[in-house]
């Protein structure tokens, strides 16, 4: 009921009046969530003080990649002062013996040698926690230890869990983190994130199961699935190249592009990873993740913004636009191979079946080539040829965009027809971009010769590129998930790879070995592309 006798109140009519009525005349306090002194510096935001918990700390990946990357971040002052790492492993160690082991690894694997005082500071922030992943008591102790560190360091419950273990241990560790409440983000701060290494599943069913198990404990926004290829400087540059330059995007479609080739060639064999590779093969090892990631970056639509979900939405759309193969499609569009003995880089090498820890009758593929279609408006009718293999003549990863030829042959008198334009993006080594075009040969005649404009990353920028793990670790600490794969993205990629692998399991035994080490794979790979009137690019 309205009061009587008092001054008449007028309802608010303007935005200002409405605001004052709702929140009063209070001035907004000065924002303290950003550090204004950071503007224009290398990092405009640094990670919050936090504790990182590394599972599988005694493993090969941790020693080769994770610790050197962290040490480099520490050396370049990109980690917060109050950062600490708890290394969790099964092997018996105390802090001193574990630090001695890390010291040896840093000497062997560091990109830039650490100054002795910097190394001492870095090692001083690492402590060891022994425990089996199935041991409840070890995780209970870990929870107590982390709480004590929060109180001591003022890390406010911010924690980054990193799973650098065998993938079979992922569900167990995630469940333990859930049981002990270590996944719970605190109200008003205290973030919890989990970084999970590849392989994320070994087929669609196992990836879905793992996603479910992780999802029971962590929200998707807390999960960072690593594909270290996405942290590579040239892969990140691919997005800049496509969406930061106006001249290429209008040509980036079925009207101008004839086909796309993505190659990931390795001259190495399986080295000491025979038993791992036996269970994996080229398709699971690199095609399902690295090659399909490269394909999505080449084929995706421009995202509306550069935030993590906008970017990943577009990548998922590409994967979903690739039709799943039936057994007949696999036979027609996929080639697998396994190397026999041969010569690579001027040295004789043994065949795959003679490698350590490899079955003498192994049917594991060390080479895979496929022809994929993307059924969307932009790419309909443009084949994407992917190939990956071990013991190929050289190490090279490249994306080649082959443009269509000119519609009319104008230079009939030229001895050679001009070759269609080609844009090659070299991912490694010698990162760079090459554009091929025709040019008149000087002289009285009208001969055309193909020439190239070759941009080499290293010759244009003197800045030392960070290792992919440095980039990705820092992003996870900052909460930027752009370069990590999302659950639906992983599943969409497995939806493409799984029918291929399944059809091999259900089909007849392959005629392996079917290529000589040091060659570009089996003849069938050439047939795959040549029947379309095309050929693999000579790299």
């Amino acid at each position: 009921m309205a009061r009587t006798g008092g001054p008449a109140t007028t309802p608010p009519r303007t935005i200002r009046e409405e605001r004052i009525e709702r929140i009063g005349r209070r001035r907004r306090s000065v924002r303290h969530d950003v550090n204004p002194l950071r503007e224009g510096l290398r990092l405009e935001r640094v990670p919050d003080p936090h504790v990182m918990v590394l599972f599988g700390a005694t493993g090969d990946l941790s020693h080769r990649k994770v610790f050197p990357a962290l040490a480099q971040l520490w050396r370049t002052n990109l980690l917060p002062q109050d950062w600490q790492l708890v290394a969790v492993g099964r092997r018996p160690h105390d802090d001193a013996t574990f630090r001695a082991e890390i010291t040896a690894s840093l000497e062997q694997y560091s990109r830039v040698r650490l100054e002795s005082d910097v190394a001492a500071q870095f090692l001083g922030r690492i402590s060891y926690h022994q425990g089996d992943f199935g041991d409840d008591e070890a995780f209970d102790r870990l929870a107590v230890r982390l709480d004590a560190m929060d109180a001591e360091l003022g890390t406010q419950g911010d924690r980054l869990f990193y799973l650098a273990t065998q993938s079979s241990a992922f569900p167990q560790i995630v469940a333990q983190l859930g049981r002990t409440g270590l996944d719970h983000e605190l109200h008003g701060g205290g973030w919890r994130r989990i970084v999970i290494e590849k392989p994320f599943g070994r087929d669609l069913d196992s990836a879905r199961k793992l996603n479910r198990e992780v999802g029971r404990v962590f929200r998707e926004s807390q999960v960072y699935r690593i594909d270290h290829y996405l942290g590579k400087e040239t892969v990140r540059n691919l997005m800049v190249f496509r969406f930061g330059n106006g001249i290429f995007e209008p040509l980036w479609n079925r009207r101008y592009v004839d086909h796309v080739q993505i190659t990931m060639a390795e001259s190495l064999g399986v080295e000491e990873r025979g038993s791992f590779y036996e269970e994996t093969g080229a398709t699971r090892d690199v095609v399902q993740n690295h090659l399909l990631q490269l394909l999505t970056l080449v084929a995706m639509e421009p995202p509306a913004t550069f935030d993590a979900d906008a970017l990943r939405d577009e990548k998922v759309k590409v994967l979903r636009a690739i039709p799943e193969f039936g057994a007949a499609d696999v036979a027609a569009n996929v080639v697998r191979g396994q190397y026999g003995p041969g010569w690579v880089e001027a040295k004789p090498v043994q065949g795959y079946r003679a490698e350590t820890a490899v079955d003498a009758q192994s049917e594991t593929e060390t080479f895979m080539a496929t022809r994929l279609q993307i059924d969307d408006w932009r790419w309909s009718g443009v084949p994407f040829y992917l190939r990956a293999g071990k013991r190929l003549p050289k190490r090279a990863t490249e994306i080649a965009i082959q443009f269509k030829g000119v519609p009319h042959r104008l230079f009939r008198d030229s001895a050679v027809d001009p070759q269609p334009n080609l844009l090659a993006i070299r991912i490694q080594p010698d990162e760079g971009i090459l554009l091929r075009f025709g040019s008149k040969v000087p002289g009285l005649g009208l001969d055309i010769r193909t020439v190239t404009m070759d941009f080499t990353y290293g010759s244009a920028f003197s800045v030392d590129s960070p290792d992919a793990y440095e980039t990705l670790l820092l992003d996870a600490m900052l909460g930027d998930a752009s370069l990590f794969t999302r659950a639906d993205e992983v599943e969409a990629a497995w939806a493409i790879a799984t029918p291929i692998v399944d059809s091999w399991v259900n089909g007849p035994a392959p005629d392996f070995p079917n290529y000589v080490a040091g060659t570009w794979g089996p003849n069938a790979a050439d047939t795959l592309i040549e029947r379309d009137g095309r050929h693999w690019r000579r790299i």
């Binding site: 002194l37 640094v46 002062q81 920028f461």
Partner: protein
């Protein structure tokens, strides 16, 4: 026109090493253009390949910019040339080094044209860059812009590196800057205290600052301070310390000075850039410009060590005391020794002392008398090669650097 070609050997290149592939001399602008045309057709750019046959290794002229160096003395030009040669493979450019000589004699030109090549990797073509070392005598030396303009590769950006003391307010400078996209200077090498030149530079930045065609300015003195800035910024990364940024009460910068240098003999650009950067980032405006302080019983120079300057900044009603103080040190005069910040916030106090130590910058912070862990930032002194490389790689204007430069100039603006 007179030109002499030097036939050069077909040396096999070593990856990463600059190699002289073409060399010629001429005495006219037309001659320079003719020699430049020859560079890319010269037989000396052909080497012997694996098969023993002549093999052309240069696939394309690789220029990413025009780099013009105005050297007032030939020795400055020679030093700049040595720096640029180191960058030939990384930043291939058409480089023009222009020096003046014999101002009262007749007009003459002496140009040395070279192709400096580098092999980026064993299986690649060499990348080559053109290098023109030009001395202009007599009247011609007073019209450098007229010499430079026809020699620029069109459509490529022009970076103008002016080592030493650039005569920024002169007609010559105005003409040169009109064709430049970026001016590169080193304020810490300016003679005297450098304050007059700082004012002129700030005016230039203001005048050329609007819209398309704006002039970007890079000062090596400011680029060298990037690790210092990171170190200072890191003191406020902890969320609980960040509020102290709006409670800063004093900024003190101590710089190295040598006894007997005289009151105006030490370059103050580096310490001033620190204050300018802090003021611009924290939104502080000048309440009382920095002025020399003469202690009781001392000479104006502050016991002959160097200028002691004090002033005041403010934000709203808060006043921030500023002091730029000399300190006897074996370091080069004008080198920053410490940056000290005092801050208060709701009864709590924060003291931050950032100091140089060998190749590092150390951060000592104290909250209410309690010391925080010391943080060390690697900050090896960067060479001119590295500074020039970073400058070339930067694109457009750096708004943070511009704001710091303008704030530093405002701090010492004459009344």
């Amino acid at each position: 026109m007179h030109a002499t070609d030097e036939a050069l050997g077909l040396d096999a290149p070593t990856v990463g090493d600059p190699l002289l592939r073409f060399s010629s001399r001429t005495t006219s602008l037309a001659g320079i253009e003719a020699e430049l045309a020859k560079v890319w057709a010269a037989t000396s750019l052909t080497t012997t390949g694996d098969t023993g046959e002549a093999e052309r290794r240069v696939s394309a002229r690789t220029s990413v910019l025009n780099l013009v160096v105005i050297a007032r003395q030939p020795e400055i030009g020679a030093r700049a040339a040595a720096v640029i040669r180191m960058l030939a493979g990384r930043h291939p450019s058409r480089t023009l080094i222009v020096s003046s000589a014999d101002p009262d004699g007749p007009s003459w030109l002496d140009a040395h044209i070279q192709a400096i090549c580098m092999l980026p990797r064993p299986d690649a073509a060499e990348t080559c860059a053109e290098f023109i070392d030009l001395v202009a005598g007599g009247e011609a030396g007073r019209h450098v812009a007229a010499i430079v303009a026809p020699l620029l590769v069109h459509d490529l950006p022009v970076t103008l590196w002016w080592p030493g003391d650039p005569p920024l307010g002169t007609r010559q400078a105005v003409d040169m800057l009109a064709m430049a996209d970026r001016l590169v200077v080193d304020g810490s090498h300016w003679s005297g205290d450098g304050l007059d030149r700082l004012q002129v530079l700030a005016r230039l930045v203001g005048e050329h600052g609007a819209g398309i065609g704006e002039l970007a300015v890079s000062d090596f003195a400011m680029i060298r301070q990037s690790r210092w800035r990171e170190a200072i910024a890191s003191s406020f990364d902890r969320p609980e310390l960040r509020p102290f940024l709006s409670g800063i009460t004093a900024i003190t910068v101590r710089y190295a000075a040598h006894r007997g240098a005289g009151p105006w003999g030490t370059n103050l650009i580096k310490p001033l850039y620190h204050v300018g950067w802090l003021a611009s980032r924290l939104g502080l405006v000048v309440a009382a410009p920095l002025r020399p302080v003469v202690p009781d019983g001392a000479s104006e120079s502050g016991d002959d060590l160097g200028l002691r300057m004090t002033g005041r900044l403010r934000a709203s009603r808060r006043s921030v005391a500023v002091a730029v103080l000399p300190m006897a040190s074996p370091m080069p005069p004008g080198t920053t020794l410490t940056v000290e910040l005092s801050a208060e916030r709701r009864g709590a106090s924060l003291e931050v002392v950032v100091s140089a130590e060998a190749d590092a910058v150390m951060v000592h912070a104290t909250v209410d008398g309690r010391s925080m862990p010391v943080r060390r930032f690697m900050a090896p002194r960067r060479t001119e090669v590295e500074l020039l490389a970073e400058t070339i790689e930067s694109v457009g204007r750096d708004p943070v650097a511009v704001a710091a430069l303008l704030a530093a100039a405002e701090l010492v603006r004459p009344t």
